[in-house]
C-alpha cells in the first residue's frame, strides 16, 4: 500500500499483510507528531508527484535490499500531538535488509518527496525547514 491520505492507518493490519512467504523480519517505522510546544501540525503534499515518487522509492528499496513487501502511508491535513504522520512497513528475509530498507525509505522521503509540514503554535504557525535544501523529485537522494 502506497498512499497519501488524511485517514489514520491500521498498523497491525499492515504488519499482518507484510508477512509474505519467506519473511523473517518486519520493520515498522512510525513517525509521530512530537510535542514541541505546538498545538497541531498541518501537512500538505503535491500528491500528483509525491505518490509516484513514493512508488519509485518503494521499488528501489525493494530491489536494493531484497524486501518482500513495502507499505508507505503518509498522512496530510491537521494532526494532533501523538498522531501518526508516516508509517513505513517493510518485510524481508532477514533483519539487516529490513532495517536498512526501512532507513533508506525514510531518508529518501525526507530528501525528495514534495510534502511539507507546518507547526501550528499558540502564536500562529511556522513551516518546518527541509533537511535537504535542493530535494525534490529528482535522482540523487540515495543515502550511502
Amino acid at each position: 500500500m502506497i498512499a497519501i491520505q488524511h485517514e489514520d492507518v491500521d498498523i497491525g493490519a499492515l504488519v499482518r499483510n507484510a508477512k509474505e512467504n519467506g519473511t523473517g523480519a518486519v520493520v515498522v517505522f512510525d513517525g509521530i507528531v512530537r510535542d514541541d510546544d505546538i498545538r497541531q501540525i498541518e501537512l500538505e503534499a503535491y500528491e500528483e508527484v509525491a505518490v509516484p515518487e513514493l512508488r519509485k522509492i518503494a521499488r528501489e528499496a525493494s530491489e536494493k535490499f531484497r524486501l518482500l513487501h513495502v507499505d508507505i502511508v503518509h498522512r496530510i491535513g491537521r494532526l494532533d500531538i501523538g498522531e501518526n504522520i508516516l508509517v513505513i512497513v517493510v518485510s524481508a528475509g532477514h533483519r539487516k535488509e529490513a532495517y536498512e530498507g526501512s532507513r533508506f525509505i525514510i531518508e529518501a522521503i525526507k530528501a525528495g518527496v514534495p510534502i511539507w509540514k507546518k507547526e501550528l503554535t499558540k502564536q500562529g504557525g511556522r513551516w518546518v525547514p527541509g533537511e535537504h535544501p535542493h530535494g525534490s523529485g529528482q535522482p540523487g537522494y540515495h543515502i550511502s
Partner: protein, 92 residues
C-alpha cells in the same frame, strides 16, 4: 493559451494556488511565474532575488518534472502546462 500555476506551502499562503494564467506565445517559465508572483510583494520576494532570478532554494516543476533554475529562463510554457513552485520539502 492558459497554464496552471501551483504554489505550495509558504508560497501558497502568500500567492494562492491553482492559478489559471494566460500565456503568450514565447513566454518563459521564469517570466510567467514572475508575473503571477508580482501580485504579492512578500510572495515575490520569497521566490525571487533582487535580480529577478529564482532564489537558490526554490524548486520548480513543469508537468511534474523538475526544471533546474538555470533552465527556467529558457523553458517555454505551452497551453495546459502545469507549473509548480515550492520551497524545500519537509515530509516524513
Amino acid at each position: 493559451m492558459t497554464a496552471t500555476i501551483r504554489f505550495f506551502a509558504r508560497f501558497r499562503e502568500l500567492l494562492g494556488t491553482d492559478i489559471q494564467a494566460p500565456v503568450e506565445a514565447g513566454a518563459t517559465l521564469t517570466g510567467l511565474v514572475r508575473r503571477i508572483a508580482k501580485q504579492n510583494s512578500e510572495g515575490y520576494e520569497a521566490i525571487f532575488d533582487e535580480s529577478g532570478n529564482f532564489r537558490e532554494f526554490v524548486i520548480i516543476m513543469k508537468n511534474g518534472k523538475r526544471i533546474e533554475r538555470g533552465a527556467a529562463g529558457i523553458t517555454l510554457v505551452s497551453d495546459n502546462d502545469e507549473i509548480a513552485v515550492f520551497p524545500p520539502v519537509a515530509g516524513g
